[in-house]
Each structure stands twice: as C-alpha cells, then as structure tokens.
Amino acid sequence: MLTLTCPYCGVAADETELAAGGEAHLKRFGPGSTDAEFDTYMFARENPKGVHFERWRHAYGCGKWFLAARDTNTLEVFGTYPAQSSAPPQHIRDAITAKRPGWTWRDFA
C-alpha cells in the first residue's frame, strides 16, 4: 500500500487515509487567457512514466493539502512538501537526482 508522510502533521499515512488530487504545479489560466492556454491548463497532463509531482490531501487525518514527488512506474516516493510551493524544493530535487539521474519534468530539473 502506498504510504506518504504528511508534511504538516508528520503522520505516515496509508493511501486509504489520503485523497489523490492529480498533477501538481499547474499554472492556472482563467478569464482573459487564450483558448490554447486554458485548454492546456484544464486538460493537458504530463502523465509521465517515471518522476511525477502531484497533489494529495490528508483527508482522513489533518485535512491539509500537500505535494508529493513519486515515481509512477515503481511507486517509489521521493518526498513530500507543503502545498504552498510553486516548484519542488531543492532537497526533493536532490533526492530524485540521487535515484533518477537525468530526470526531467516540465521546466524543473
């Protein structure tokens, strides 16, 4: 079972305690944006086979949203970090680089 550590309350939570929230670090486009920008924001997804940044909510715990770096191909978790991050923090990137040298994800890394 997938286990993520909530960066707020510190509990190592099983996936039955969590709610998945999809891809992280999406840049939001709303009224005034072009159709292409809105389409990309709303529907296009990285969907990588490998390193993935994603949103989770500690639904049956402290209730906080947080972000996680995970490998979709091995289910390995590289780390979790607060939702108030516009990009993955350096220690998360380093943890990924240590295990997946040469990884890429959008503009990060």
Partner: protein
C-alpha cells in the same frame, strides 16, 4: 494460410495434429512500411486489419514492445455492450458490437462471442431515471435496450439478491444482444488475419523515438533498429502519453491502474453479465466456470500493472451484498491494467499536431467492447487522413472546443 474448418480438424485428427501451422509469422522488420501501427493489442491489430481489408493498405507493420495482446486486451473482463447515452458513443460502440456478431466468420477464428445479455442494475431512484433516459436514447439510436423491473431481473439472474436492505434492486437496463467474447482470441484472430494479408507483426520491439521532418513523421527508432514509414498510428492505451511525448505533443490523458479478478471455477450459475454500479461491482461467468469480476481504479497516476488491495476488498464486499451465494468462493487471481482516462471519459481517435500521425487512445476502463469499431474508424482515418463519420466527434481537439462527449459513466461504474 490454411483455413480452420471442421474438415481441417478431421484431417489433423487423422495425422496426429502435425499439420497445424503457426497462426502468424514473426518476421524481422523491413526498412520501410506504408504504415506503422504501434501497439499490437486488440485496437492496434483491428486497425491494421481494417486498413488492409477496407482500404487495401497492406504494407503495414504492427510493433509491440511486449507480447501480442498482453496489455489491456488480455486483462479486461470481456464485456461487450453498446448502451451508451450520447449519439457518437452509441454509434461507435454499436458498430463494434455488430461487428462482433460475425467476427468469428470474418476472421475464420472463433472469438467465442456470446450475446448472453448485459444488465445494469438500478439500485437508486436516480439510476432508474438515468437508465430509463438511456433506454429512450438507445431506442432513437437503433440500439436494442429495455428498462426491466426487479421481477424480470430475478428471472434472468436467479442468484441476485434483489431486496437487500441498503440497495435493493429496483430495475435494470437490459441489453439482450450484449455479452462477452474470448479476449485473447480477438487479438489472436486479428493477428492471424493481418499476418495472412502480408502484414508484419513484430513483438518485443519497443519504440524509443519518433522521427519527423517538415512537420511530418518519417519513421521510428525501435529496440530492433530504425524503421521508416509514411503514416504512423499510435494505439498504445496506457502508454499513450509516453508515445505522445516522443512525437512532441501532450494529451488530455492520465494513466491509472484498473483491477480485475477471477474466482475458482464453479458450475454454471449465471448466464448473463450483471453490472451493479451503485455498489460498484460487475460480474459474469466464463465458459470455464470462473466468476470474472471487475474492480476499481486507483485514484493516482500509475504505470504498475498491480493496483491497491483495498479496492479488491471494496469490490468483493459489493458483490457479496448483491450475490450472497458467492461469499465462500475463493479468488484465484487478481491483476491490473493501465487505462488511459480522458477528461470526459470518451476515447480519442484523432489527427495529431504531427503530420501523418494519428492516435487512438482514451478508451479508459471500457476498451475491449469497442475493438472492432475502433479499428474500423482508426483505419478509415489513417487511410484517408481525415476522420470518417464514426471518428469525427472523437478528436483530441474537442477539449479546446468544448465539444465534450460526456460519458463519465463509460464503464458503467462510478470512477
């Protein structure tokens, strides 16, 4: 290719079955093909078959990174139905279902299509209204379905517990010509027919790069070398995002793991397919006697063909409530397949930003039933370069245009 027939069986019986030939060839790839199809699952093989049969394009390679039919084609619960709400969905799924009716004769390969009937249980007032609406829509679309009461449900499937305390069975949407087929045989039958037309099925051949010049595809790199092509069809289900990335575009798709399981074989006890969507479980009995059970999807992106164990618990709990007699049945096997989910839960059969490159994906949790119709529509698109009537609504650009085909109940289950 020698045809399969009762005479062939008799002939081989007399000579110790030494004369059966391989069902398909396994050639080395040529330098160039008119069309390359990536993915030798049901949809990819059906696309190749109808390219040859309907459009005369036979210099075709079908590349497969694993083994033929080893992805979702061999991992689904084999249900075939076409009782969809939206017109464009009903059209392509009914085309597929009607092709299944004569597929064994068409391919000269027994796909064991069994139109035993599919019922989708209504267990809430909302479902009754929803299914009555679908039945009316199906009547207008020319798809034979009917809303039936609980008495008829019990008559068609005596092992259902219709008056459970929490979710009693209030009726069902019944499609008498829906049913099941042998999933492996569908892949094998199409593969044999493609090979017979001179197409090359190349297994253990993973595509590692897509090459382009002047905005058009020129070929692919594979683990078995470089192969050039005029047209490229990407039909790889869960790995669509990976191939799209190689071709330089993104898709409105996320890959999730969907699970299924089978029980130990028991004597025949149900001869229809039952889907109980409120409690989230569906079940049918295979010809071998095992109960084939569909489970749930994980909520997060996943490329491992496993799935989380708690979904099995939820599925089994729902089914025991609906079919109390299975409570002591042992489960034999559980597995997962990577399904490609779109935002509106409808598939994509589309041109792409790369010229002469076409994609067929997004079938999500319900692709097996669509294989012949999907192949038919994709072949039409690849041959003509423009979508025909079956595919035109399923463009990948419909999300930008707001022309969704909202079938968020596409598997008939609440995902």
């Amino acid at each position: 290719m020698k045809r399969y027939s009762v005479f062939a069986v008799a002939r081989e019986a007399l000579r110790n079955h030494m004369g059966w030939e391989r069902a398909w060839r396994s050639p080395a790839p040529k330098v160039r093909y008119d069309a390359i199809i990536v993915g030798a699952g049901g949809h990819g093989l059906a696309t190749a078959y109808y390219l040859g049969k309907n459009h005369g394009i036979r210099n075709v390679a079908i590349l497969e990174k694993g083994w033929l039919g080893g992805g979702n084609t061999g991992r689904n619960t084999t249900i075939i139905r076409s009782n969809y709400l939206q017109d464009s969905s009903a059209a392509i799924y009914e085309k597929a279902r009607s092709l299944y009716e004569t597929l064994s004769q068409d391919l000269n390969y027994n796909v064991m299509f069994s139109p035993r009937g599919v019922m989708m249980l209504a267990q809430t007032q909302h479902e009754i209204r929803g299914y009555k609406r679908t039945a009316h829509a199906n009547a207008l679309q020319g798809v034979e379905t009917e809303f039936i009461g609980p008495g008829r449900v019990k008559e068609l499937c005596p092992i259902i517990h219709i008056d459970g305390p929490r979710y009693p069975v209030l009726g069902a949407l019944w499609q008498p010509r829906g049913g099941t087929a042998r999933h492996d045989a569908v892949a094998w039958g199409y593969a044999r027919a493609c090979s017979d037309m001179g197409m090359d099925i190349i297994q253990q051949c993973e595509v590692t790069a897509v090459h382009q010049a002047d905005g058009k595809v020129t070929g692919v790199s594979t683990t078995k070398g470089e192969i050039a092509c005029d047209r490229l069809g990407i039909v790889v289900a869960g790995h669509s995002g990976v191939l799209a990335n190689m071709a330089g575009f993104r898709l409105p798709i996320e890959s999730l793991c969907l699970q299924a399981l089978v029980s130990e074989p028991i004597k025949p006890c149900m001869d229809v397919v039952v889907m109980a969507n409120t409690v989230h479980g569906y079940m049918s009995q295979s010809d071998k006697g095992d109960m084939v059970i569909g489970g749930g999807t994980d909520g997060f992106n996943n490329y491992t063909q496993r799935g989380s164990f708690h979904h099995i618990e939820e599925t089994v709990r729902a089914l025991i409530e609906t079919f109390p007699m299975i409570s002591r049945l042992k489960m034999l096997r559980q597995w997962g397949g990577i399904v490609d989910m779109t935002g509106d839960r409808s598939p994509i059969i589309s041109k792409t930003p790369l010229g002469n490159t076409y994609i067929n994906c997004g079938w999500g949790t319900g692709g097996f039933k669509a294989i012949p119709g999907s192949g038919w529509a994709m072949a039409d698109l690849m041959a003509k370069g423009e979508p025909g009537p079956l595919a035109e609504e399923f463009s990948m650009y419909r999300f930008r245009e707001g022309k969704f085909i909202d079938e968020s109940v596409a598997a008939g289950v609440a995902h």
